[in-house]
């Protein structure tokens, strides 16, 4: 398969403008600015079928089209480079090795919504990535791809890099905007939505790094070429970050609809050391874990993974072999969400910590009869009742671990110790 997103990865000095341009970089941008009307661009992106790669999978072109065209307010395009979903490291690779693809995508998207100021909000911990991006922005500006009267078109666009301060929640688009505004990283109550009331109350689109990085290719080869890849509803290719008990961990680019099992076994080399697969999280820590038998017929596209009871999410594939204590895994994930809950709304603030406490006590041999149903009940009370999707992200994996490995949890409670771990 031809690589779209990873086409420059592995090439020496791929992060520099010279190398990026030598491979056709910024030609899409020039084409967009010189030859395309914003409406044409939006139609092209709609036709490509590109969907948001941050996790929600919302159609990108449609998201842009929600921005009011007649608003007197400034419009903003924000590149969400706050990658922090557990088990996800695909954006980081692009940031560090192909920053110009992200910048070019950001410029194209900004043009689509007629934004003259674009922000790249990068996760605070990505110190090296921030430096690389900053340099790349400077290079692109010096080359005239960013700034005033780009390509003599009269179109002005500024790009501002902003570093986060280390909160997972700031990857949620409205929390990101609050943080970018200088406030607490709190998700905003919706409606209104960012498309009309986003950054500083102005129309705003927030797109993920991977989404934006796909745009130059789509413009270069055309929407049809992109839409020719993938399935009926999941078009193009997607990056997967594979980690855990797997022979060849790393970032993979896969055409949507690729068989999951084949991917794990052939592409990633399967579970090492002759051990058996016990479970796999397909889309980052927020998504329900799947048992080996559940992935038999699953393909790597939004619909297929959802049909199996989980979600494609960010494409953070976490593989667990038979030596994994699922109680400990669940406890670890619960601890993460308890720690990262922003504390704004009641169910998430209180519920995440409550679940974490229960998982912790089960893990440490202090579980009680009824604990499992209690967690299921708490997760049910959080699900769907919070300001932002974080509540669901904490509740879904908690419930899935218990439902799918209940016997192991019960044994942990009954014997007051781990019955699995062999390491």
């Amino acid at each position: 398969m031809e690589k779209l997103l990873l086409r420059n990865i592995g090439i020496a000095d791929s992060h520099t403008l010279a190398v990026y341009q030598s491979r056709g970089g910024y030609q899409s941008w020039e084409k967009v600015v010189r030859d395309m009307k914003p409406a044409e661009l939006i139609d092209e992106v709609k036709a490509s079928g590109l969907r948001g790669r941050g996790g929600a999978g919302f159609p990108t072109g449609m998201k842009w089209s929600f921005v009011p065209k007649d608003s007197p307010k400034p419009k903003y395009l924000v590149c969400n480079a706050d990658e922090s979903e557990p088990g996800t490291f695909k954006d980081r690779l692009l940031i560090e090795q192909d920053p110009h693809a992200i910048i070019e995508g950001t410029l194209i998207a900004a043009y689509g919504i007629q934004s003259h100021t674009a922000f790249i909000y990068i996760r605070g911990e990505l110190v090296a990535g921030a430096k690389i991006l900053e340099r790349a922005v400077e290079e692109a500006a010096r080359a005239g791809f960013i700034g005033k009267n780009i390509f003599g078109s009269g179109f002005d666009l500024d790009v501002i890099l902003h570093r986060g301060a280390g909160a997972y929640i700031c990857g949620e688009e409205t929390a990101l905007l609050s943080s970018l505004e200088g406030g607490r990283g709190w998700p905003k109550v919706k409606p209104p939505f960012p498309a009309t009331h986003g950054l500083f109350g102005c129309p705003t689109v927030v797109n993920n790094v991977e989404t934006l990085a796909a745009l130059p290719w789509i413009i270069e080869r055309g929407a049809a070429a992109y839409a020719a890849m993938g399935t009926e509803k999941s078009k193009g290719t997607k990056l997967f970050s594979v980690s855990g008990h797997i022979s060849r961990p790393g970032v993979y680019e896969v055409e949507m609809g690729y068989p999951f099992k084949k991917f794990l076994e052939d592409d990633c080399g399967g579970v090492p050391n002759g051990r058996k697969l016990k479970g796999v999280i397909p889309g980052g820590g927020s998504m329900p874990v799947l048992r080996p038998e559940e992935i038999e017929k699953v393909n790597l596209d939004y619909e297929s993974v959802q049909a199996a009871g989980s979600m494609l999410g960010s494409g953070g594939v976490i593989v667990m072999d038979e030596t994994t204590c699922m109680v400990r895994a669940a406890s670890n994930i619960a601890r993460f969400y308890a720690h990262e809950s922003c504390g704004q709304c009641s169910p998430c603030r209180e519920g995440c910590h409550w679940m974490e406490k229960i998982f912790h006590r089960i893990e440490h041999g202090e579980g009680q009869a009824g604990d499992l149903d209690l967690v299921l009940n708490i997760s049910g009370n959080i699900m769907g009742n919070t300001i932002c999707p974080f509540g669901d992200a904490a509740a879904m994996p908690a419930a899935a671990f218990i439902k799918k490995y209940r016997a192991e949890f019960e044994a942990h409670i009954a014997e007051k110790r781990c019955t699995v771990r062999t390491e």
């Binding site: 109550v189 809950s341 922003c342 504390g343 709304c345 603030r349 209180e350 409550w354 009742n385 300001i387």
Partner: protein
């Protein structure tokens, strides 16, 4: 305003476009439980208590942030809604200390109320409640208990949006989130104690009221704040015939939901100290107790024989009292200059949100009654200091205590051939009087005040005056009676009816229709200073 029809729990309700479900429901008498929502603050949507079912929407929606739409079906009592209320309450209570027995909010706490209404189950949370600060002083009037806080952020939003002083902020994350003073600020803005009123739980309590009375023992009387001429609507809350606190009463024409701190605590100054319970008369060696009959006869004689008498009324006297006072002085000392005590001070922008520059809640009403048409209190005082008067009748105001003129004023008052002071305490001014008449304060009175903007509002007696003291209007009536002007009024209501016939601006108003929200005189809001 476009009308919109929605269906709440199967009942059709007509509301207007732009309203939220929680507002439309409240208008229709359907109370949707909530913590963070407050009609005067921005929508936070964080408590999740107001989640309701909206037909055709897969997820429950917060009623505070859902706009009504034509034909929208809202369910506030469906099994899903009742279950989520129970769940939210359980969440809010898992780290709550449930220290109701020592919490001032107990009895008016929305955690208690909603728990009894919607949950009533034992907590399934067993160990390790999150601890927090129990008594952090936020400012001179407000103290914070972090363990009781449900992080609704009403207090934070109040300081951001109403006073714009930004003293409070949320700090930390997750279940360590808590409210704190922002940097080195102190919660000492002029409206600071309103955060106690809007705190739905016992997290913010009033340092003045704290630990004094269990709220269920309080008797509540609707009245008007005596602090200044804004005339904020208040509830005077009493226990064992003492005022325990003021709370604001909602009146969108006057004070919305708020009162200022100065007004909130002014009752201490206005009601404290040792009360006079018997008239006093000056004899050789000083003031000695006497009977009302002796005292009133002495007043009559003193004022009648004065060459140049003058009268000053407190800005806290009611319209009814001012009406009688004007009549009385006209009878006893015709042409004597009458004034209502009125002094202004500078106010800053935050103070101006509610406060008026004076401390005279009824100065405008008193002037309407004919007390004060002589060039103002300032020039009246100048004349007094200049020795233009030989006798004075001072009602309800300690001129020596409240005026910078000090020794000059004392000398002027001492020079008077006759001074009668009518007050609740033996004030510095009263100590110079020839006759002292024990009277009542605002909290013991019924009557009407007219605020700065010409709104007529009702004052109600919240406590009973001590035996021996008389209402100011009773004193004026008895003096009028002795002066052979027989007026058969026996209640403030009857006096009001009489003044409504005589004073043009008040014509046609009946005492009974003033109600708890008052009436704008002349139909408009005319500014007067």
């Amino acid at each position: 305003m476009d009308p919109v029809k929605i269906i709440i729990d199967g009942k059709e309700v007509t509301t207007t476009k732009g309203k939220t479900v929680i507002q439309a429901a409240a208008d229709a008498g359907v109370a949707i439980p909530h913590y963070c929502y407050h009609p005067k603050l921005s929508i936070a949507g964080n408590c999740r208590m107001c989640l309701v079912e909206i037909e055709k929407m897969p997820k429950l929606q917060i009623a505070c942030n859902t706009q009504v739409a034509e034909g929208m079906g809202v369910l506030t009592q469906s099994p899903k809604v009742l279950a989520v209320r129970k769940a939210v309450l359980e969440f809010l209570l898992i780290n709550h200390p449930v220290d109701c027995p020592i919490c001032d909010q107990a009895g008016e706490c929305q955690l208690q109320n909603y728990y009894m209404e919607h949950n009533r189950e034992a907590s399934r949370f067993e160990v390790g409640k999150q601890h927090d600060r129990k008594k952090t002083i936020f400012g001179p009037n407000v103290i914070f208990d972090g363990e009781r806080c449900i992080k609704c952020t009403r207090c934070v939003r109040f300081c951001q949006e109403i006073t714009k002083t930004d003293e409070l902020a949320v700090i930390n994350r997750g279940d360590h989130s808590t409210i704190a003073l922002f940097n080195d600020s102190v919660l000492d803005n002029p409206l600071s104690a309103n955060v106690v009123d809007i705190c739905p739980v016992g997290a913010l309590t009033d340092r003045d009221f704290r630990f004094k009375v269990r709220v269920w023992y309080l008797q509540k009387t609707p009245s008007v704040c005596p602090g200044c001429s804004t005339g904020c609507n208040i509830s005077v809350e009493t226990y064992q015939n003492r005022i325990a606190r003021f709370k604001p009463r909602i009146n969108e024409a006057v004070n919305s939901h708020w009162i200022c701190d100065e007004g909130r605590y002014c009752f201490h100054e206005l009601t404290g100290g040792e009360r006079l319970t018997t008239p006093l008369i000056r004899q050789e060696g000083g003031l000695v107790p006497t009977t009302w009959e002796n005292a009133l006869h002495a007043v009559l004689a003193g004022l009648r024989s004065a060459k140049a008498a003058a009268g000053v009324l407190s800005g806290r006297n009611t319209n009814e009292e001012a009406f009688l006072f004007a009549k009385l002085m006209k009878k006893l000392a015709p042409g004597s200059p009458l004034e209502v005590c009125y002094q202004e001070r500078e106010l800053n922008e935050t103070q101006k949100i509610l406060m008026s520059p004076d401390r005279a809640p009824n100065f405008r009403g008193a002037r309407d009654m004919g007390v004060g048409a002589n060039g103002g209190y300032g020039s009246w005082l100048e004349k007094l200091l200049a020795g233009d008067f030989s006798a004075a009748y001072i009602v309800g105001e300690d001129l020596l205590g409240s005026n910078g003129a000090g020794e000059r004023l004392r000398a002027a008052l001492q020079k008077l051939s006759f001074l009668v002071v009518q007050d609740i305490r033996l004030s510095e001014t009263a100590k110079l009087a020839h006759v002292v008449l024990p009277a009542t304060h605002f909290g013991e009175k019924e009557g009407t005040y007219t605020n700065r903007k010409g709104r007529l509002q009702k004052l109600n007696a919240a406590v009973i005056a001590p035996e021996g003291a008389l209402q100011d209007w009773q004193i004026f009536l008895r003096l009028l009676d002795l002066a052979e002007e027989k007026l058969s009024y026996s209640t403030p209501s009857q006096i009001f009816q009489a003044l409504a016939e005589e004073v043009a601006l008040y014509q046609g108003i009946s005492y009974a229709t003033i109600g708890d929200q008052g009436i704008q005189l002349g139909g408009g809001g005319v500014e007067q200073s």
